[in-house]
Amino acid sequence: MNTIVQVEGLRKTYGAIAAVDDISFEVQEGEIFGMVGPNGAGKTTTIECLEGLRKPDSGTVRVLGVDPQREGQTLCLRVGMQLQQSNLPERMKVWEALDLYTSFYPKAVDWKELLVQLGLEEKRNAPFSKLSGGQKQRLFIALALLPDPQLIFLDELTTGLDPQARHAIWDLVRDVRARGKTVILSTHFMEEAEKLCDRVAILDLGRIVALDTPAALIHSLEAEQRVIFSLDGSLPPALEKALSMAGRLEVQGEQVTIHGKNGRKVPLVSEVVSLLTEQGINFRDLRTEQPTLEDVFLSLTGRKMRE
């Protein structure tokens, strides 16, 4: 597999703030690579250093084999970019934007096909200002796809969209990857990173605190699997004792939560259920919760992603 992006010791400071503080990673061809982290983590700064829009203070960046600062002009023919903050003139129509941007590239894909692929055909004559958030995003993705790029950057592509629109955009991104393109995206939705990305870099305060496949991140954490159930009345002391052997116990009124480590011989849920039936206890609403990237972030930084 080819290495598409190489970042080594990237740093960028604004005054006293290190927006990006010594970041290194690589992205391979055909990957959906995600950067996830809370507001101000440094995702946009990193992406825009890769795009050549910002100049790093130090470190080396190679995108498709070239330095974006020195060869930005050749790069923008092969890279598609969707920026976190950008706009089109309010009265520009959807088709006009695509038509105009097509003229910037010596070789571009047929925008009429993109219009169909991105479900914007009905909005062909709508002015930019009259598009919904999701439609604007799709238009920006279409613009990013115009040069038929090898690599596409999507910065915060589903922020502000409802879940349905978000899922539609995920399908789109998978589709782009299926056509052999590499995708680098940022998000502050852990769920998005988990569902969509092949590999995820978790950023916090300008640093990468973890980088791996979502599954490996969750696994490596030995994150706790949880079993939750409710009782009528209080927890009998004998059961409490037995359950505490299985994992850390948390009682809130009638609801009991047991946090168990991963990688156990017997699954936590069967152990809990057999204890409950052995002691003949009536329980209801029993369910299990798998750890998510959200838990990974919490355990790595001691903070929740969103308060």
């Binding site: 795009e51 829009l53 002009q73 923008c76 023919l77 970019m81 920026l83 903050q85 950008s86 706009n87 089109l88 003139p89 009265r91 520009m92 006009e96 038509d99 105009l100 941007y101 003229s103 910037f104 590239y105 920006f140 613009l143």
Partner: protein, 248 residues
């Protein structure tokens, strides 16, 4: 080249979709012409030494007015807004050159200004049978020089001002007194001598002088000062606007 044409055409459409700028460039000067025309008819404006009818004095003056308005308002506002709203930012991610962005703006405003002037001249001819003693090519050349050097001011403002609002306010503050004092709105001869002295410091005055002169058939040689000032402005405008151009 393809992108320059596409961009110019796109910007032309956007210009015409913006009712305010289209009104002030194309309609407003005509309205002014009809108002003054109905006051003076074909007589000369009292108090001027012009042998021409009032309309012959007013058309070159109003041409200067259109140039002043388009140079300061649409150019400044469009560019400053494009920067502030991240429209330039999006363009920056493409291979398009900043020169194309600037050139497209210049072409659109130039063509629109020309259209406004053409409407004015046609109205003068058809409605008032205005007398024109100049040379059409000479007049067109003068118009081109005046427009381009004036657009420079707009580009400089757009480049230097921190945001679109400030740029717009500064443009207005510069524009209105200039329109009145330079003789673009009515003949300068009608104003007190003290006020006429101030007008020597206003760039638009030189536009009015040159265009009025060319209209009555004076040669370029008799307007060396005006031409010198305008060429200076043009060069300064090009240098500063290219130097101060920022994508964001």
């Amino acid at each position: 080249m393809k992108s320059l044409l596409k961009m110019t055409w796109m910007e032309t459409k956007l210009f015409l979709r913006e009712p305010v700028s289209a009104f002030f460039t194309l309609i407003f000067p005509l309205v002014m012409l009809f108002i003054f025309g109905s006051i003076y008819g074909t007589q000369s404006v009292p108090g001027t030494d012009s042998t021409q009818g009032a309309i012959g004095t007013l058309i070159p003056a109003f041409t200067a007015m259109i140039i002043g308005m388009t140079g300061l308002m649409p150019v400044t506002i469009t560019l400053a807004t494009y920067r502030e709203n991240g429209i330039l930012r999006r363009l920056r991610t493409t291979p398009v050159s900043p020169l194309v962005v600037l050139a497209a703006q210049v072409m659109v405003v130039f063509v629109m200004t020309g259209l406004g002037v053409l409407l004015l001249a046609i109205a003068g001819k058809v409605v008032y049978h205005v007398q024109f003693d100049g040379n059409v090519f000479s007049m067109a050349g003068g118009f081109t020089l005046c427009s381009l050097s004036f657009f420079g001011i707009g580009f400089i403002l757009a480049g230097v001002m921190p945001n679109a609002r400030t740029a717009q306010i500064v443009a207005m503050v510069l524009l209105y007194p200039m329109l009145i004092l330079s003789g673009a709105a009515w003949p300068r001869e009608l104003m007190p001598a003290a006020v006429q002295k101030i007008s020597a410091f206003l760039p638009l005055t030189y536009v009015v002088n040159l265009l009025r002169g060319l209209w009555v058939g004076e040669s370029w040689g008799t307007h060396l000062l005006d031409v010198g000032v305008l060429v200076g402005m043009l060069l300064l405008g090009i240098i500063i606007s290219v130097k101060t151009f920022r994508w964001e």
